[in-house]
């Protein structure tokens, strides 16, 4: 899941940095308010814990084993915003010192694993566990399903980021400059393993660990259960929207700024249909028909951005709905 440097273009990597900066800013403000001076040791040791969890080898039925990310577990115990910072810090240390994930790709890896994963995982957990006592089975089951959802959303984002590369960045004769595989290849490849093996690991480890905490450390589960909910998320939303507008603009601007494409070439570049993609068009159908896989508009650059924007809007809408439902459930409880 860690994207190394070289698989994605600097434009994609930079765009995801731009998306992460407002997220880090909002998360930093939030934990500063809720945790005060305590934030540094708590988040730092949470990050160290996340780092260690990623080293655990967990066996899967059938003989193999794999690693968990554990972001949802951290979010359940420390809250989603502290988890964003904790997992980010763990990823930064992995990138700089252990070669897990690239340095330019830190923005992308943090967006996938430190933002989307714990936040999605946490809200699924909250939805499942809303109003239930700390020792309820809904807590561990909800954490498990949250972890499963989180890791798969994260894998989908990773596959999307890698999969848009060949269509956007290639030379005139079609040589891919970064990862050569299109969306119709990366998405099935990533989702197959994450919906099964890795998803199972994440589910099992998170659910079992929460069940363990219910037996031995109930206070850890209760610490954050009441402190969620978002009243000052506006700056984050504004930041994300701004980034969403400026990231594609920056990409187009950078293409012209290099000053080596005539308008004709740019048109060609933006209307490019990767030939290899259409072969596998039948393999994967997104929610939007022929998302990046067919011909015409949806595989052009503007098509990518529009489908990306629609996807993000859908995700934000869904998140909003989930938060609403959780609030309502909490009021009734």
């Amino acid at each position: 899941m860690h994207i190394p440097d070289g698989y994605i273009s600097p434009q994609t990597a930079g765009g995801l940095w731009a998306l992460m900066v407002p997220v880090w800013y909002a998360a930093g403000n939030r934990i500063k308010r809720t945790l005060k001076a305590r934030q540094a040791p708590l988040v730092a040791i949470g990050a160290a814990f996340t780092f260690i969890v990623m080293m655990f080898n967990v066996p899967v039925p059938g003989g193999t084993s794999g690693h968990a990310v554990g972001g949802t577990l951290v979010a359940v115990v420390l809250g989603p915003w502290a988890a964003v910072i904790s997992v980010s810090v763990a990823l930064v240390i992995q990138a700089f010192f252990f070669g897990d994930g690239g340095i330019l790709a830190i923005g992308a890896n943090c967006f996938n694993m430190a933002f989307a994963l714990p936040v999605a995982g946490y809200y699924v957990y909250r939805l499942a566990a809303a109003g239930s006592p700390l020792s309820s089975f809904r807590r561990w089951a909800g954490a498990g399903f949250g972890a499963f959802a989180g890791i798969n959303i994260s894998a989908f984002l990773t596959a999307t980021e890698i999969g848009i590369q060949p269509g956007l960045f290639h030379t005139a004769n079609g040589t891919a400059l970064y990862s050569p595989y299109g969306l119709s290849q990366t998405i099935p490849a990533m989702m197959l393993v994450h919906l099964t093996v890795i998803g199972f690991i994440e589910f099992a480890v998170t659910a079992l660990a929460v069940a363990y905490l219910q037996r031995g450390h109930l206070e850890l589960l209760g610490a954050r259960a009441t402190a969620a909910g978002g009243s000052r998320l506006k700056p984050l939303l504004v930041g994300l929207l701004l980034a969403l507008i400026f990231v594609p603009l920056g990409l187009i601007a950078s293409a012209t700024a290099w000053g080596e494409w005539s308008p004709d070439q740019i048109r060609q570049r933006f209307g490019f249909v990767p030939r290899g993609m259409s072969r596998f068009a039948g393999l994967w159908q997104g929610i939007i028909p022929h998302y990046g896989a067919g011909g015409g508009f949806w595989s052009s650059t503007s098509g990518y951005f529009l489908s990306g924007a629609i996807g993000l809007a859908a995700a934000l809408g869904l998140a909003f709905l989930v938060v609403k439902l959780i609030r309502r459930a909490d009021r009734h409880a």
Partner: protein, 324 residues
């Protein structure tokens, strides 16, 4: 081993059956066909040991006299970033090869043994990238101009819904793309490894301040780095204790429960630890504003390094545009 006949295995001294068994616990891993079953615990121990080894080795190299070791960590961090961006933007395999040569030369000047450096860089990430990219050089996976035809069917071959085309060939686009990807990954990893090997890790984290990372994040990074080793130690002890209590292979199910329980225990301990660390910090006057005693000084050679890196990055991009 409840299925064994005690009369055969138990020694006359009255030892429990398993102690006199034909499979002493210490050679458990050597029992054929049993190795994979207990390997999750073993693999975790080995992973932790490898991480510790990596860091100890790095500190050792970082304290050796050498070109890059003498430089200010901030100059190195900025240089790395510039060269990484250049390596990411370049589109000619030759230029990437040049950047790779520069990086390897810098490793040599910093007294890092070439064999060690090559092993550290190439094992695993670029080799893995090569494996991943391999299928894309064939026209079956990604269309392109055939360079070397391996098999000519003479007619279109269909595999269920997929068409394989009329021949299998290695394409020019696929091969160039694969070379670009592997080289780009190798250059990026080399640069990152070079920085991590020639800089003390705690200094490197503080140097990130120059890249506009807020002070509180630097504090968190430094504390994380310090506590990773404590927690690694704790985890290694838990797994070694588990390993030494096992007299037979455990099932994957048991291993999973053990992994989750250790994660839970570790979480409880981490939480308690953070409270203690916080109390210790407060009692030493911490009020939420981090301060650092370590001061860096940019000297002539440091500026020179940053300038040289910037020039190399600009030259690489410029040459790439000229060639392309």
């Amino acid at each position: 081993m409840p299925d064994q006949d005690p009369s055969k295995t138990a020694p006359p001294t009255g030892l429990p059956a398993w102690m006199g068994g034909a499979r002493p616990a210490t050679v458990m891993a050597a029992v054929p066909g049993r190795r994979r079953k207990d390997s999750a615990v073993q693999k975790t121990i080995e992973g932790i040991a490898a991480a510790l080894k990596t860091s100890v080795f790095s500190e050792k190299i970082a304290s050796r006299p050498g070109l890059l070791q003498k430089m200010d960590p901030r100059a190195k961090a900025v240089s790395l970033l510039g060269l990484l961006v250049a390596a990411a933007l370049v589109r000619q395999p030759l230029i990437l090869l040049g950047l790779y040569a520069v990086t390897t030369a810098a490793a040599g000047a910093s007294r890092i043994s070439l064999k060690f450096f090559l092993k550290r860089v190439w094992l695993f990430i670029p080799v893995f990238a090569g494996l991943i990219v391999l299928p894309s050089i064939f026209n079956v996976v990604k269309a392109g101009d055939p360079l070397l035809t391996i098999w000519n069917f003479g007619h279109e071959v269909r595999l269920g819904p997929w068409s394989l085309g009329t021949s299998i060939a290695i394409t020019k686009q696929g091969l160039t793309g694969a070379a670009i990807l592997v080289l780009r990954v190798a250059v990026s990893v080399s640069l990152a490894v070079l920085l991590a090997l020639t800089t003390r890790w705690s200094d490197l984290l503080k140097a990130l301040r120059v890249l506009f990372v807020p002070r509180v994040f630097i504090l968190i990074l430094s504390m994380t780095y310090r506590y990773i080793f404590l927690l690694l130690d704790l985890a290694a002890e838990m797994f070694t204790a588990r390993r030494s209590r096992m007299v037979g292979p455990s099932s994957p199910r048991e291993d999973r429960h053990f992994a989750a329980a250790s994660i839970g225990t570790l979480l409880g301990k981490s939480h308690a630890l953070s409270e203690e660390v916080y109390a210790a910090m407060v009692s030493r006057g911490y009020d939420g504003e981090p301060l650092s005693l370590r001061r860096f000084h940019m000297r002539g050679p440091d500026w020179l390094l940053a300038l040289a890196a910037a020039a190399a990055a600009a030259a690489a991009i410029g040459a790439d545009r000229l060639l392309g």
